[in-house]
């Protein structure tokens, strides 16, 4: 177990440095550079800025500097937000994205798992069809449509919540609802499929033959195995939710990480792009590790090996 964890951490570090190399190389291939002003900027000012950000050095040296920044955790400064370290920006945006994403994850699980299980237990009935249609609809509705609709209904029409902003204690509700509904649809479909498959397996028949009650068959025996695909999906999904959705954060005007990620790309702020990519990669690596450990705990057939 410990060998497994250590080897996965080492792999994770390699992945992170690969991400640095790839995002850095891509950022060097983007034309335009860090200065993105329509107005002419004097040669002197441009030179001074290139020198300040180390952009006049050979690119291999720049890549080495990037490695050094991340290896020593002394993160560089953003090109666009002058005088702000990229770590400072991530630290200001991540808690908000994480709060909304965490709530969305809970909503997704609370709605998706029961809905999927309900449908799986009544296959091919009206209830099953209704919940499948609802789930398909949820998957097909993009957040840029659902978000404004929810903002219009609960914000402008009913006036239950603020349509946007991050000021009141209740401002997490609408964005979390938007994200939660979309993810719950995925989870419902996964749960339904895997629960139906599990219920058809032989060990379930054995459990029933033993005389176990229907609820203990479903919740104790079948669910444990049926939730594995959901768990697999949750690893990357959780990382995605916690780091924020650009669209939902823009629609609801949340000062989260997702907005920074996109504006970094449009502003040519490559330092911030690299930093958020690395942060995202680190989260995915850790969540995947967590999911592997949880799966081993839930499924006796899985053995962790380095």
């Amino acid at each position: 177990m410990i060998r497994f964890i250590v080897s996965r951490i080492v792999q994770g570090i390699i992945v992170i440095f690969a991400v640095i190399t790839i995002t850095f190389t891509l950022s060097k291939m983007v034309p335009g550079g860090a200065v993105r002003n329509e107005r002419f900027i004097t040669e002197e000012a441009r030179k001074a800025q290139d020198e300040y950000y180390g952009l006049n050095k050979p690119w291999i040296v720049q890549l080495g500097l990037q490695f050094k920044h991340y290896a020593t955790l002394d993160l560089p400064e953003s090109y666009h937000y002058k005088g702000r370290g990229v770590d400072e920006i991530i630290a200001s945006g991540f808690p908000i994205s994480a709060a909304v994403g965490g709530a969305a994850l809970l909503i997704a699980l609370a709605v998706g798992v029961p809905l999927g299980a309900y449908a799986a237990l009544r296959p091919n009935t009206l209830e099953d069809r209704t919940s499948t249609v609802a789930a398909t609809l949820g998957i097909c509705t993009p957040s840029m449509v659902l978000g404004p609709l929810i903002a219009l209904l609960f914000g402008l029409k009913l006036r239950w919540f603020n349509a946007s902003g991050w000021f009141d204690a209740s401002d997490w509700v609408l964005p979390a609802l938007t994200l939660g509904i979309i993810y719950s649809a995925y989870i419902a479909r996964l749960t339904r499929g895997s629960l139906r498959e599990t219920l058809a397996q032989e060990f379930i028949r054995t459990a029933r033959a033993k005389g176990a009650s229907e609820s203990s068959v479903v919740f104790l025996h079948a669910m444990k195995l049926a939730c594995l695909p959901v768990l697999n999906f949750l690893g990357p999904a959780a990382a995605g939710l916690l780091t924020g959705s650009f669209i939902v954060e823009t629609v609801f005007q949340l000062p989260g990480l997702g907005q920074f990620f996109i504006s970094a790309a449009t502003n040519g702020d490559h330092q911030l792009t690299i930093a958020i990519s690395v942060f995202y990669a680190a989260l995915i690596v850790s969540f995947n590790l967590l999911v592997d450990i949880l799966q081993a705990a839930l499924n006796p057939r899985i053995r962790l090996q380095a």
Partner: protein, 542 residues
């Protein structure tokens, strides 16, 4: 019995929802709360990149700097484009070349330190020091030897045309007469910066000092920085040290960085904003036709145009460029496509630059003449004209306009134009490298004078990017910068613009307007061609 419980349960649920609905719908909106507190809630576009005026180059910062800082001359309360005493109480000029400013005797920084002429000298030295890498250092080039110092030809700053004659007297010497200097001084590149605060956290030319953070920031405007939550809100409060603090009516302003115009409009209708920065283009006709009391549309000193790459054939031929210019139906574009009150550009310089300036109204729609010119250039009925692209940066509005122009050129001149869109950074790079044929370009005036629109077309100017140049034009502009007589100067500029519009290295299309939403309780936030704001005159009267 069970049905009784069910009904009771249902009734409890319904009354719970009704109670929740009542409580939530009866809470005051943010605007109502702000009205009581005397705080203006203003949409401000994207998150400000910095609060250091020497490092900034964007509009969100510009709008905040008008609250935090004050230049020698300030926007007048009854007309933000007019001149009123700012950090300087009075000023005089000798032939518009040597300007002497008497500073406010009670002028202070927000930390209580007196504001002196030396602060201005320090500030101008800082922005002109090449090592700082200030985007807008060139704004100070009209000052004697400023360019020479910035480009390293002069090492000694005392040779630059700014002197502190005594603690309360500042003298600025220009290269030549500039009657528009007062308007220029309202740009933040000319604002004073606090030496004591900057040097407490680093050297003069450090780009990353923490002096602009809320606890550290020192400023001299009607307001001072209270808090800055990144991407969420930037709040300023009254500055009790401000020389004219008794005039200030608001207790504070909260600038909200909302980059999406759809979200901004939603927030406005939800009672979260007093005034928006912009609004969705598609919603403008509905607001203007319904005569909404919230809708405002003010002219701006800004022009939308297409520049031609005169280094590439056939755009090196003035006949071709004039044919292209004459085949654009600007009326139809502003009326049918833009529909937000924009004015068709009949010349380059937008109206309002100077009351005495005669704009040469040369641009018109004349397809027959356009065809004649094109034939004269060797492309009768468009035959043999090489295919070319109109370069735009990715945006729906640029695209629909480009497609309209493309259709007009096809219909009237029978020439094949395509539309090529590129991401912002690539689009800028293509123009710098002259890798384009026709490209969209917008120019915002920096001060109230035609020269802010005309000087950029001089041969080799960093903003020209068309490859066009004319000795006669350069000479006219040069003379205008030396001419002290106001009438003669405007005459020279008018002559230069006429020459420019006959050669048309760029095709002016329309003059911008600023469409936004504002609640009626906001008083004193007046329209400005340069988007200057006199916040001390603003008040909330619900």
């Amino acid at each position: 019995m069970r049905w009784i419980f069910r009904i009771l349960f249902l009734a409890a649920c319904l009354s719970g929802i009704a109670w929740f609905h009542h409580v939530r719908t009866h809470r005051p909106t943010r605007v109502e709360e702000a009205n009581r507190a005397g705080i203006l809630l203003a949409g401000n576009g994207s998150e400000p990149a910095t609060l250091d005026p020497h490092l900034a180059s964007g509009q969100p910062e510009h709008l905040i700097f008008h609250a935090l800082f004050e230049g020698l001359i300030a926007p007048a309360p009854d007309n933000p484009d007019g001149d009123a005493p700012g950090a300087a109480a009075t000023w005089t000029s000798d032939h518009f070349t040597v300007w002497t400013f008497k500073l406010q005797p009670q002028g202070r920084w927000s930390d209580g330190t007196p504001l002196t002429a030396a602060d201005f000298v320090y500030s101008y030295q800082r922005i002109l020091t090449a090592q700082l890498g200030a985007d807008y250092a060139s704004m100070l080039y009209p000052m004697l030897n400023a360019e020479e110092f910035h480009t390293g030809k002069i090492k000694d700053f005392s040779q630059v045309g700014v002197k502190a004659l005594d603690p309360l007297t500042l003298q600025i010497t220009l290269k030549g007469p500039a009657p528009y200097l007062p308007s220029m001084l309202k740009h933040y590149a000319w604002f004073p910066l606090p030496k004591q605060a900057i040097e407490k956290f680093g050297k003069m030319t450090d780009r990353n000092t923490r002096w602009t953070r809320p606890a550290n920031m020192v400023c001299n405007g009607p307001f001072k920085l209270k808090s800055w939550q990144v991407n969420q809100a930037l709040e300023v409060e009254r500055n009790p040290q401000y020389w004219d603090a008794t005039t200030v009516k608001l207790n504070g302003i909260i600038f909200l960085p909302i980059s999406s115009d759809t979200t901004e409009e939603l927030a406005f209708n939800d009672g979260q904003l007093h005034v928006t920065l912009t609004m969705p283009l598609s919603k403008i006709p509905a607001y203007s036709e319904s005569k909404s009391p919230y809708y405002h549309n003010d002219p701006l000193l800004s022009v939308y145009m297409y520049r031609c790459n005169t280094k590439k054939k056939p755009f090196d031929n003035p006949l071709v460029r004039r044919a292209l210019a004459l085949a654009i139906d600007r009326e139809s574009i502003t009326r049918n496509i833009l529909r937000a009150g924009q004015q068709p550009a009949t010349g380059l310089t937008p109206p309002g630059c100077n009351a005495d300036y005669k704009v040469p109204n040369i641009m018109r729609f004349d397809p027959a003449e356009a065809r004649r010119l094109l034939a004269e250039a060797g492309f009768p009925d468009g035959k043999g004209f090489p295919p070319f692209d109109i370069l735009i940066n990715t945006s729906e509005s640029h695209r629909s306009l480009a497609q309209a122009v493309q259709a007009m050129w096809k219909e009237h001149l029978h020439i094949p134009a395509g539309v090529l869109n590129q991401d912002w950074g690539v689009y800028l790079e293509s123009q710098r490298k002259f890798d384009y044929q026709i490209a969209r370009f917008g120019w915002v005036g920096d001060y109230l004078d035609p020269s802010t629109f005309l000087a950029i077309w001089q041969t080799g100017d960093g903003n020209n990017n068309t490859g066009w140049g004319s000795k006669r034009y350069d000479e006219l502009i040069r003379q205008s910068f030396l001419e002290a007589d106001s009438g003669k100067r405007l005459q020279l500029l008018s002559e230069a613009e006429t020459l420019l519009l006959n050669e048309v290295p760029m095709l002016p299309i329309y003059w911008y307007t600023h469409s936004y939403l504002m609640r009626p309780e906001v008083k004193g936030l007046l329209p400005s061609l340069l988007q200057h704001r006199c916040y001390k005159a603003v008040e909330l009267r619900p």
